[in-house]
């Protein structure tokens, strides 16, 4: 999906054919005049390039100097925020140009398809991978900060979860978001469930009422049988600190003491809930009961 969204990024090409003005659904492009540069979206540029109908003009952000500046910025420990913009190497006096939102997807596609059109194409992949590595380590710092915030909140079980909004910084690009969100959603939804009970997430299932009100007990009782296995897994992972979750593991490890006691209560609660859950389908019929055995 990210590659698809990256496709609408504008890019300059030099067509090798002549053509009048063409009207597409997303806009008009043309007239195409051979050897005259024209701006088209990325998807069109790549499709023309693959049939050798054009040559790509390297975009200013996909150059060694720009990417080097980006990497230097990210490496500097004083810069906590993400890199956003740097000097355009083709226009040194002009304004700074920002790193495109889909820079990673676009760069991979361009290098794949039209590497010869770029200057110094061999130097670019290592720079790109450095950049994405540095940015993802910055995003894991954000994640650590987030999990610390969550721990510090662990003592407060008011009725209902607060509608807290967490500030991430600005400057996120598509690639870091993808890497970040997988772990983060799991972290947030799990911690929400541990602290406030009830179910979050589509695999949880019914009992919507318990979500806002009632702490662990009232909400927990409405779990489906199918959930038991999943909670057990999380139970273990909270204890152990799994390898594949080493980023949140650090955060949760630090506050391990408080969390573990939580999990113990949870564990006891699990035992109580199991029996209740077994009895439930016999007591109530209807959709929920059927769902249990699905």
């Amino acid at each position: 999906m990210m590659d698809f969204l990256a496709g609408s990024m504008p890019l300059t090409i030099i067509p090798a054919f002549d053509c009048g003005r063409l009207s597409f659904i997303s806009g008009d492009y043309g007239p195409f005049v051979a050897t005259m540069p024209i701006q088209v979206p990325l998807w069109l540029a790549l499709s023309l390039r693959q049939t050798k109908r054009c040559r790509l003009v390297p975009p200013p952000w996909l150059t060694t100097s720009y990417l080097q500046a980006a990497v230097d910025y990210e490496k500097d420990p004083a810069n906590e925020a993400f890199f956003t913009a740097a000097q355009n190497p083709q226009d040194p006096e002009g304004p700074e140009i920002p790193l495109p939102h889909h820079y990673h997807e676009a760069a991979t596609a361009i290098l794949d398809c039209a590497a010869e059109d770029l200057q110094n194409p061999k130097s670019l992949p290592p720079l790109l991978s450095d950049l994405s590595y540095l940015r993802s380590s910055k995003s894991s710092l954000v994640l650590k900060r987030l999990s610390h915030t969550l721990e510090s909140r662990s003592g407060t079980f008011e009725d209902g979860a607060p509608d807290v909004v967490y500030n991430m910084q600005s400057g996120w690009k598509s690639h870091e978001v993808q890497v970040f969100k997988g772990v983060t959603y799991k972290l947030m939804n799990t911690s929400h469930r541990i602290h406030y009970g009830g179910d979050t997430g589509p695999t949880g299932g019914g009992g919507g009422g318990g979500r806002r009100g009632g702490g662990g007990g009232g909400g927990g009782r409405r779990q489906f049988g199918g959930n038991r296995g999943r909670r057990n897994f999380e139970h273990r992972s909270n204890r152990g600190g799994k390898e594949d979750e080493n980023i949140p593991g650090n955060g949760e490890g630090v506050g391990g003491g408080s969390q573990e006691s939580m999990v113990d209560e949870d564990g006891l609660e699990l035992a109580a809930v199991d029996e209740e859950e077994l009895m439930e389908p016999m007591r109530m019929g209807g959709e929920e009961g059927i769902n249990k055995f699905r």
């Binding site: 698809f4 979206p41 919507g208």
Partner: protein, 272 residues
Amino acid sequence: MAALNIDDAADMFGGVADFTQHTVNSIDDAMSDDGADSIGGDDSTSEMALLQQCWVNEVASPSLLPIDVDLVECLTLLLKNQLAVIDQLEESVADPMAALQLSMYQTEVDRVKYVLVDYLRVRLRKIERNALWYMSQFPDGKEYKTNAEDETVTVTFLSPKEMKFCAGYTKLLRKHMKETVLKHMPSKLLDNKPELDLSLQKLDDMQTTRMVDPPHDNTYLLAKMVSNGSQWVSNGDADEPDFSDYKHGHMILARYDAIKSRVISKEVELVP
């Protein structure tokens, strides 16, 4: 659910457009972004860019968002016209220039088709998941709200064809539930009136358990601010957290519940 092709989609939305001025105005305001940073790309207010943003929001959100029926209809018509142009070009395919144009047009049509069909399909999937809930929430597909000036604002959540689908699906669901389970329920629940149609909604009304599941709006999501939080007009919800610190382009992590109304009013967009 059979595979949706573009003709089905066109039929679905060939009906009268239910144009909601509210949503379109805020789209125009929100979409004045610089090309490098927005998902839209070339022309930020083009139909395709708008549809892409709607699609991204719909994919990322756990529950159904309002649909801009006018936009979908417009795009379907554009697609139909473009397909006609392609058909015409196919007749002169020997000419290399025509062949080139044909391939370009075809690629673009495929792209638009992909977004449109996936958008509709995602919505149908969401409707299927919580069909009974949506039927009870939006009996005619629309939500009516009074805004600050005491006017009623209608927001279309289900297009007419989607309503038809939802109604048909719930009918099937109820029938299935009745045949498999409810028929065999103990008579206590029937209130000694066997002629009453025992439905899931009735059990819900008895408040013993909630039978109809609402969609899970309490999942956490990443979202991006489109407009400055400090400029927001309060939407009357006392529980809403304070957004005044957040500016355009800021990323926030929040429970979907908390930002849902802002996503609908296009002040916040979801991150795919």
